[in-house]
Each structure stands twice: as structure tokens, then as C-alpha cells.
Symmetry: C2
Subunit: 392 residues, 2 copies
């Protein structure tokens, strides 16, 4: 994986150097797999051997997936290998799978990524000239698997923790912390594997566009042992939060995770140096948890999901009721989405108007051009958001 990323992404002139009619293995492939293969213009060729199948299709993962809207039919060759070359896709990472006579089948040539509540295939479509998530020859931070016992759930949980370059060497330095959450059907691995969050931070820090920070990516599901059930549903984008008590996940974050991180890492453990952001379901969790706990957070990032709506005088635990107080306490309320997320392209300007009318400042909105409810949007959101963090 590392090899291909360096070759395909770090070289700025890659797209020009590659002949238009030559495909190379996708950066998301398992080692030595030649397919799927990507062309410089974003086309991609997929192959699957299935001699006995009557129909093989490529299913993009989701109705707004950058690979296209409908399944593609593969064509069977004399050797029993089915193949298709799809039209130029949106740059970035896209979930997909094959449908072999209706059964969902992972592509053996692809690594799997946890999405859609299972380990599924994904393909990285190069984005010529856009290398902020490439693996470069610069100092790299670590990503640490951190296990901790949750008093809330009674279970041992795992978070992934990015520590910036030099963390172990600069033994007296202390760092601000960003809590960063995945979407529904994904887990704590999404931000580094699909999102390449660690490389985005490495690159921002190396170019001094972001301050060195710790990033904590937790497992966004929790169930208290006295109330067995299902994970919290995805927040409806743009919908006001219903008044309710803390979810089990909120209690995990506030009473289990933050104390563990502050105890085990050299953090700056005050609210001015603690941020939370999330994508889709994670943005709903972020809006709810931060507004209920402004004594713990002062930087808020909402990616492709939640956007304040409704009566801001009463919603969101009353966080917006007193604008002067909110403005004093919240250094940044950052809201972003992809230009192809039609509903959010309306909901975010509406949220902005509501916030402006109420006198809420420190609001930044962002549109990722040409992308949808997908990881390229969230990579760009992280780049923009992280570059603003902890700077006031």
C-alpha cells in the first residue's frame, strides 16, 4: 500500500507522465494485485473470474457514489473472466462491490475497508495535482491503537490516536487534541484508512499549515450494559437535535475517553485546546456532544451532516441562546460538505443565515467542489478544518 501511494500520489507530475491509455494498479489494491487498475483520466478497469456466473455487476457503494449511480454490467470473456472499464470517476476513495448473480462479493484485488457495516472493497481514483493526502518523504506521526476500559459500557474499547512527528522526542511538549469521528456503518479505522487523516496531518504540520496536534478517533458506538440495544441512529442532516439526556456514546467520550487520553498523553487538557469533529453520523454526535458540553470543547467541525436548524434560542441544549456567551466560548464552528450533496447545499447556507441572524460569530462554511457524501469531501474538510484549529 505504502509503495503505491508514494508512486501514485507524491509525484506531482504523475498524471502527465502516465500515458492516457495506460492503466496502473489502484493504490487501494492488495499487494501484487493488478486489478482494479486506474487510468490517468479517472477511468478504471475491474475484473473478476467467475466462469459459472450468469451475470456479474459492479455496484458502487451508495446512491451518490463517485463511481456512478447505477450498477455496471461486466462482460464475460472466453477465459471466464468478467471485465468492465467505467467512465471517468470522481477523484478519491469509493466503496464498491461486485454482484455475482445477486450476491455481494468483495473484489479479491482490493483491500477491504470497514464501511456499510462490513469489510468491503474500495478503490482510490487519483486526483491529479491534489496531493495533500499523499505519503511524502517527510516526518510521519504515529497512529496508535489504544485500548481502554469504559465504565459506561463495561467493555474494553479501542481508539486510534494520531501523535504528531516528534511527539516521543520532545518529551516536555504538550499538544491540543482533536476528537474525530467516522460515519454510520464505519468504525474507528475509517479516518486513517479511507480518510488518510494521519498523512493529511503530517503534510499540514510539515508545511506549517497546522499546529502539531493529537487526533483521537474512537469507535462511534456505545451501549450501556443496562440498556442493551442498537447503536444510535444517524442524525438527520439539518434536523434540530431533540432534547434528550446524554447518549451512551457521549458518556463514553466525556467520562471515559477524555480522561484516558489526558492521562496517557501529553495533552493540553483544557477546553481551549480541545476540538471535536465528525462526518455524517459523526457530525450529529459532534454537534450534540459539543453543544451539551461547552465547558469541554471550544472548536467544532461538522462534515457532511449536521447543520444547526430550528429555533436556535432553545435547540442544542440552549448553546446558541446567548450569542455573546457562545462567541466568547466557541473559537470555531466549521460546517462543510460536498457540492454534490444537494440537501446540504441548501441546509448549510440556511444554517449560516440563522447563525448570522442570531449574532453567532466564528462560523466558517466550506464546499468541496465536485464531490459528494464521500471520503474525498471529508479529506478536504479535515485539511481545511485542521489548518484553522488551535490558532486563536
Amino acid at each position: 500500500m505504502q509503495i503505491k501511494w508514494v508512486v501514485m500520489l507524491a509525484a506531482a507530475g504523475w498524471a502527465l507522465a502516465q500515458a492516457a491509455d495506460t492503466a496502473v494498479p489502484a493504490a487501494s489494491n492488495v499487494m501484487n494485485a493488478q486489478y482494479p487498475a486506474v487510468f490517468a483520466d479517472g477511468r478504471a478497469t475491474f475484473r473478476l473470474r467467475a466462469p459459472n456466473a450468469a451475470r456479474v455487476q459492479l455496484q458502487p457503494g451508495g446512491s451518490d457514489n463517485g463511481l456512478g449511480l447505477q450498477p455496471y454490467d461486466l462482460v464475460k470473456g472466453a477465459d471466464g473472466v468478467w471485465t468492465v472499464t467505467i467512465p471517468p470517476a470522481v477523484p478519491g476513495f469509493h466503496y464498491y462491490w461486485f454482484l455475482v448473480d445477486g450476491v455481494q462479493v468483495n473484489d479479491p484485488g482490493s483491500q477491504t475497508f470497514f464501511g456499510w457495516a462490513r469489510d468491503t472493497s474500495g478503490i482510490e481514483i487519483p486526483s491529479p495535482g491534489e496531493d495533500f493526502y499523499a505519503t511524502r518523504d517527510i516526518p510521519h506521526g504515529q497512529v496508535r491503537m489504544e485500548w481502554y476500559l469504559s465504565k459506561t459500557t463495561g467493555q474494553t474499547r479501542r481508539a486510534l490516536v494520531y501523535t504528531p512527528p516528534g511527539y516521543d522526542q520532545e518529551a516536555r511538549a504538550r499538544y491540543p487534541v482533536l476528537y474525530l469521528q467516522h460515519g454510520a456503518g464505519e468504525n474507528e479505522t475509517g479516518w486513517t484508512r479511507q480518510g488518510r487523516a494521519n498523512f493529511i496531518l503530517d503534510n499540514l504540520i510539515a508545511s506549517r499549515q497546522a499546529v502539531p496536534m493529537i487526533v483521537v478517533m474512537d469507535h462511534g458506538y456505545a451501549t450501556a450494559p443496562t440498556a442493551p440495544g442498537t447503536p444510535p441512529p444517524a442524525a438527520a442532516p439539518g434536523a434540530p437535535a431533540a432534547p434528550q439526556g446524554p447518549t451512551a456514546f457521549e458518556r463514553v467520550v466525556l467520562t471515559d475517553l477524555i480522561p484516558v487520553i489526558d492521562a496517557r498523553y501529553r495533552t493540553r487538557g483544557d477546553r481551549d485546546h480541545r476540538a471535536m469533529a465528525g462526518l455524517s453520523m459523526g457530525s450529529g454526535q459532534t454537534l450534540q456532544i459539543t453543544t451539551r458540553n461547552l465547558d469541554s470543547f471550544s472548536w467544532i467541525g461538522l462534515f457532511s451532516g449536521a447543520a444547526p436548524a430550528g429555533d436556535l434560542g432553545t435547540a442544542y441544549s440552549g448553546a446558541f441562546a446567548n450569542a455573546a456567551d457562545f462567541n466568547k466560548r466557541v473559537h470555531l464552528l466549521w460546517i462543510g460538505a460536498g457540492s454534490a450533496e444537494a440537501r446540504l447545499m441548501t441546509a448549510i447556507p440556511a444554517a449560516r443565515s440563522l447563525l448570522d441572524a442570531r449574532g453567532i460569530k466564528n462560523v466558517v462554511t466550506f464546499t468541496s467542489e465536485g464531490t459528494s457524501h464521500e471520503w474525498q469531501t471529508w479529506r478536504r474538510c479535515l485539511r481545511e478544518f485542521a489548518a484553522k484549529l488551535f490558532k486563536s
Copy 2:
């Protein structure tokens, strides 16, 4: 994942508490997946929805897999769901996949694990009373993703690094290092995901059966840029090493990886505090690299693969030529395998006889009862080997 491990493995009385006719989701399942499900006696039920398929089989991953030797036929229900319950399996982790009209299909209910050169399904069969790899409520070490630029390959590589509990807090402590390699078709994630190496070390350290150590798990493939080609082939178990120069992987370990680890971690960087071990292909790499570099290693672990054979006066870079010298320099030559690995049950005693005849001391051999060329063997090997490391 964390949840189920605690429930299923940490409770010593689990097997007794579970009714014999009740199946529970396998610890290796993705979250919320009810199947595959395991019974207390080692039986397991598998399910797959495939309404249009003519034949669905469960294929154990390998001819000596603990799930059985042959594919199992699943039976189709009226709802289009195919199912099978297999006889009691060998305890531990087993690779498998479905064959749907001949196409290899991952089980959507299983996490995927990198083996067989792709991300494939696996199932954890409980081992009643055997909990040395359980996730317990004790201090846990971290597993860190460490990226480094290899001068040998010209590429950025990733190793996983286990740091023991307390590593960050005891800022002046220095630690010995075990380099631990996976098998052919696997990668640097195998030892923690399939092998649960970090939990094995956590448990050994908590019970003072092992000294705190760092464990480095690298990606066991390397190609020098001037000689593009395939990864080194798996070492034939028991075969003498052919005389040859260092492989690209040996050069990575000696000139890239060890200097990086010694620079970035608080190691005890001398040969007395550096071990290497590996399974299958990794044992061949270990035997070759350690015997060629006895100035760098003094503890050697061979799991289910290499066993010294041939003329020990000349083979293995002459490491055994002078027994007194070898005995002075090598604190432990540890060789283990599963009792169901028929060839190694002959090759390892033969190696022992050769070593004894030559006057080589500090040899330990081990047999994992009832297991084959599989992860339960290697978990047990690691437990036994790690408990002996760095103690003389």
C-alpha cells in the same frame, strides 16, 4: 470486536455457562453480525444469502485448516439463505471463505484478515479454559503504526510496534526488542489481528511471566529498486538454507528498520537485548537473518517452518561451525510447531539431534498439542517463546 473478546474469552467459566445447544456470534464477526455463530463444543454455524446460486460451499483456508479438510456444502432454505453447521473445529483462528458457484466470496458477517494474499474471512473458535490471548481488565500496551523510509527499497514502509504498558509513563526505562514476522500471504497486521500478540504480551507482562519488551512487526516483503521482482519464496520447512547474499528484506531489517526503531524508541540496542522470531515463511527469514547476523541477534524463534538441517558445519553461514562460539553468543534457539504438522514433527526432532550432536546448547523445542499450521499454534509459540526472552 473488543466487546465480544471480553465476553467470550475473559470469563473462564464461559464454556460452562453457555448451554451446549446455544450458539453465540463469533468473536471475529463484524459488529452486530449474528453469524457465523459458535457453540461451546466448537461447532459453528455459517449462513449466506444467495437466492440464485446453484451451489454454496464453505471452504476452509488450507489443506490443514482446523475447520476440516474438505469444503462443506451449505443447504438452501426457502428464504434463499444457505446454512451449514460444521462438526467441532480445532480451537483458535481459521481462515475460510465461501464458494458460490465456484467464486470465492467473503462472509459479510466476518471481519476480514489479510491472509492468502488478500483480505479474507476468518472465524475464532473458542478454546475453553485457554485464555492467554484474551482481552483482560489489565494494563494494555499500545500497537503503533510506524512509517519509515527504506533506503533499500526507496519506499515508505509501515511496521507495527507494540510498546508495553507503562512505556510512555516510565520515561527513563529502556526495553529489549523482539522482531516478529508473519507468514507468506500475510502482512504486518497478522500478528496482532489473527495472532493477538499484543494481548498475549499484555497478559504475560501483567502476570510477570515475561519481561516488558517492544515487539516490532514489519511487512515481510521487500524488493530493491534495481531488481524488481517477486517477494522471497517461503522457506521449505527443514531444508538447509542455500548460501547466498542478503535478501532485500534482510537489508531492510538490518540497515533500515533496526536503526529506525533504535532511534525512535527507548530500546536496549545491543545484541543481548534483540530477538527475532517468525512463523512459516517468517521462520525461514528469521533463521537466515539471525545466523548471518549474530552480532545483531542473540535470541532466535522458529515457529512452524525452518528447522536446522543438513551439514551444520557449513550451512547457515557457518553459524553452527563452532559450537562453543554459538553457545556463547546465542541465548536461545527456540523451535516449535503444531502436533498436526506431520513433517515438522519429524524435522524438529531431527534438528534437535543434529544440534545436540554438534554440542549446540540453549535449544528449546515445543509442540502445540492438537493444532496445525495455524494461528493457534503460533499464539502458543509466542507465549512460550516470549516467556523465555531476555532472562539470561
